[in-house]
Symmetry: C2
Subunit: 594 residues, 2 copies
């Protein structure tokens, strides 16, 4: 056996920020070097950020990524880090591009490179391209067909990229025959609730298939609608968990491994059947041939798992923080109604960007209850955020002097006037607008287009109403618990009165959510099955939902989806937590319940 100290740099990169991402790679490579690592690996596409989507189709961006990679290799050497092999994801292109219809322009590759002594030692690219859920990679990438195996201090280390682990065949399937002692996987795997266990099982299974230890390094951070949770892991050849990074934070996971020493070097190249109808070329290089002298190992890190609500809350805070900062904002503005949704959004915002950067606006109308303003002001005081009151009665009257509106038209007007106010404050002061819609009301259309749904980021758009309450209670209970993503308020940040009150839009006298919607205790499970699991009417009934309720809710969701698509919408509703919009037609006459 040979000893190897590997470092997995679980970092937060930003799409398009080639210089900033390169700085970050150099910084974390130095930390790895300082920790005595023999190898440092970064996540998938760290140099460009992930996902780049259609930017991959712009030739000037692909070239910029390729040049940045070579510059990075030289700079690492110039800064004294040349002897440390650095494995990093970037955007490349296939050299001999097949020009044919249906191929992505320029044949872009989701690349992985080994940098060593000022040079790019070897390049490879993701073989299996995910093209489901939030991924569209057949649109923007062509597949890689190579498994690089690099000898590092006498250990053969193979590299693959993300989806290569999730599908059978391809480079992982030829790893055992390559004789690698370690399989390194670079990932950009977005957060979904409960996905951490799935990933760990996958890594264990692939380690056993490859017959060697497996190191999995994942991106961390919010990027547009996605959140990456880190959760980098190292497992042994038998699938045993050896080390695990904490989630939702940047981290350098340093692990001492005892790995099989490589045998005599075989041929530089070999072509192997990849059991998926393709052939993989195993390409061998040597960074350093001989094992290191024996050294004492450090204790391994195995991060404690987060409880379920902590995981969700941490994702919301990180997603909000990075959306604000990566889009160049430092502060946020939001409407505070005295209800639970805007209260939770204000609290997430305080945790994400600091209470001093949160600007609340209270917009009472003639239908707002006195309690609403009192409760909102109580929250402002507890959290120390700034606030102002802008009564909307005069604006509503100015519209009503010109227009004769009734029912929903009159209700929507109030919501749109409120949106005008926060957009005006955003334009005047440069705050990003946060909007408060939850997944239950967005899915059922219980909101106003260009009104309460208007804003730059909707922190709780993927959170059903029952979970909104759960998170509010959880956040109050964990105040001052020391969790790193919670601001330590002096007292519970959310007034109990806000959590206890019956939900109401307060757009007409005595209005209650239950006037328009079923109770959330039956609505939310049904929405989850219909929106997130795409179950049809019959399947929903078979799953135990009451038929009349199924028909009513399907109608609400389909009409809401239809309206969101007819009109450039407020925040989109997604099939998975933190997913991307479902691609459904705007016009669609087909109904589950005709």
């Amino acid at each position: 056996m040979a000893q190897l100290r590997i470092a997995l740099a679980q970092v937060n990169s930003t799409v398009g920020d080639l210089d900033g991402n390169a700085d970050r790679i150099v910084d974390w490579a130095r930390r790895a070097s300082d920790a005595g690592a023999h190898l440092v690996a970064f996540p998938e596409m760290t140099l460009t950020g992930y996902p780049v989507e259609d930017l991959a189709l712009r030739a000037s961006f692909v070239e910029a990524s390729r040049r940045a990679l070579e510059r990075l290799a030289r700079r690492l050497a110039d800064e004294g880090l040349g002897d440390l092999p650095v494995v990093v994801g970037y955007l490349d292109r296939r050299a001999a591009a097949l020009v044919r219809a249906g191929q992505p322009a320029g044949a872009p590759l989701d690349g992985a490179a080994w940098l060593h002594r000022g040079e790019v030692l070897v390049r490879s690219a993701k073989h299996h391209l995910p093209n489901y859920g939030v991924f569209d990679e057949y649109r923007i990438f062509v597949r890689g067909d190579r498994l690089p195996v690099v000898r590092v201090h006498g250990v053969d280390v193979a590299t693959v990229v993300c989806e290569d682990l999730w599908q059978d065949g391809g480079p992982v399937s030829v790893t055992r025959s390559s004789g690698a002692g370690l399989l390194l996987a670079l990932n950009a795997s977005p957060y979904e609730r409960d996905k951490d266990d799935v990933r760990l099982e996958l890594c264990a299974r692939r380690a056993r298939e490859a017959g060697c230890a497996l190191a999995y390094v994942n991106l961390v951070g919010g990027q547009d609608e996605l959140v990456f949770d880190g959760d980098s892991v190292v497992v042994g050849a038998d699938g045993t968990l050896l080390a695990r990074a904490p989630r939702f934070v940047e981290h350098l996971l340093v692990t001492d491994l005892a790995l099989p020493a490589a045998g005599p070097a075989p041929a530089d190249r070999a072509q192997v059947d990849a059991r998926d109808g393709t052939t993989i070329t195993i390409e061998r290089h040597v960074a350093s041939p001989d094992p290191v002298p024996a050294y004492p190992v450090e204790p391994q890190t195995v991060a404690e798992p987060l409880e379920d609500l902590a995981e969700v809350y941490a994702a919301l805070v990180l997603g909000t923080r990075d959306y604000v900062s990566k889009n160049g904002f430092r502060s946020v503005v939001l409407g505070l109604s005295g209800g639970i949704d805007s209260a939770l959004v204000a609290t997430i915002a305080s945790d994400a960007v600091g209470p001093e950067n949160v600007h609340a606006v209270l917009l009472p109308s003639r239908y707002s209850s006195e309690g609403s303003v009192i409760d909102a002001e109580d929250l402002v005081k507890r959290q120390g955020i700034s606030s102002r009151i802008v009564p909307i009665a005069g604006m509503v009257e100015a519209f009503e002097a010109q227009l004769d509106l009734h029912g929903l038209a009159a209700e929507n007007l109030q919501a749109r006037i409120r949106a005008n106010v926060w957009m005006a404050l955003s334009n005047e002061h440069g705050h990003l607008v946060l909007t408060g819609g939850n997944k239950s009301e967005l899915a059922t259309g219980y909101s106003t287009l260009y009104g309460d749904s208007a804003g730059g980021f909707a922190p709780i758009k993927d959170v059903f109403k029952l979970t909104v309450w759960e998170l509010a209670r959880w956040r109050n209970a964990r105040n001052r618990s020391g969790l790193p993503f919670l601001h330590p308020f002096a007292e519970e940040p959310i007034p109990e009165a806000i959590i206890e009150k019956e939900p109401s839009a307060e757009l007409r006298p005595g209005q209650r959510d239950t006037d328009s919607l079923p109770p959330y205790s039956v609505l939310d499970p049904l929405l989850s099955d219909y929106v997130e699991r795409d179950m049809g009417r019959d399947a929903l009934v078979a799953a135990g939902h009451a038929p009349a309720l199924v028909d009513r809710v399907i109608r609400l969701v389909d009409i809401a989806e239809y309206k969101r698509r007819q009109y450039p919408p407020g925040p989109k509703i997604t099939p998975k937590n933190f997913g991307r919009d479902r691609r459904l037609p705007i016009t669609n006459r087909w109904r589950e319940n005709p």
Copy 2:
């Protein structure tokens, strides 16, 4: 040779409307039968509408399509049309679905079926799946691997679907060896400017490759952001154009062909190398074995081509009409400023849904010129649309009483108040909101989020400003020309004063577009190269655009795109005429000109 009268039913179906589309198929099959056709073919996915996008992933929808196909076969027979072979596109699934990661759920197929004597005679599916531009078909379909060859009155007729023509290899490449006398292609090919010539050349080339006549039937109609233009054609085995349907209207193209009589029937099935790494199964069936007795042929239809601006205008009218009607609206509301953009949108709307269904609202502010209201009222009178004046000064003052706004914040407020008014009228009266932004101003961000960009459909979002003027002049010149997509107004519908005036947003005193933007004569060609052709900075300069202007416009477009993505946006800007949004990240720090 054997005679065959084929009918291509260039119809307008609606996504999801299985019953309505089936009615339409029966109706047009009867017309084909009445015209003495021996075979009628419908476009790709006529039964479900196209594109179905992620609906293909919902099992209940796939099953509904399959059941609707079988019902349709029985109904055709019940209504006395059973002896007429009907070829129709629908949504199917692969029977033995491979369950593996990365495959679309349920293995959906973009199917084509022959219906005959109450039965589904044979099913096949699109082999080449487009996955670029507006298409995402790797996401939702698996590939077909069959070429059906059906003997109809002694002629062997093969069928393929759309993209199978556009790419090399696959079913078209094995058609010659199948001995087919006619290749039938079912299409849903969206309109792009100047695409008609490309399609005809493609059909001619594939006919020569297949060694037989080729009949190409295309969908017509607007569907969400796409417009299908019809343009169905028949070419001979040497590529000669034999018949061509008019564009942008439903049409039954009936053509008498003299085709090679089929030889003695070979084996029912044969597997052939498809020259693209796959194998295609040729599957033979017999609808009617013997040629028809000789009969006198009818003259062929070859529709006159449309001039360039007529083609664009017809697409705008059809896209608007179908967006309104397929979304269940009958009337539209729009803000009429007295400027050229809203004037053209009003005219398109009058042509699309009739002047009696167009409701204009004039929203003068303290900065509106007197001429603007006069010119808008002149247009209202010329077109006979309904209108009302809603001055916004009082509403602006009500906001200003509460908020101290400056510069852009104050300008945006006015645009958002106007949007509130037309959204309120939409909610109160059930009109769809049309919005007036053109491609030049949307691309450069010269519009207000939730303001002038708010609305359900933006008829001219894909039209650059120079083309807006061209279309307005063209529309006036062609008034009462008899073109079927123009309403015959008594006088020119657009006042000359509106076409002649210098463009201004009128949000502050003396404002002109050229305060913020380069002249449209240099802006528009540059936007076309940057937005539509995705050229990078260096390529733009090499193409002859002034470097300083390139840098300025790239900055405008990137910032506008960035803002549209940060905020749930107004109408999206697209890389192709009538295309779908570019998939670019919201956060993107990479700039062409750093």
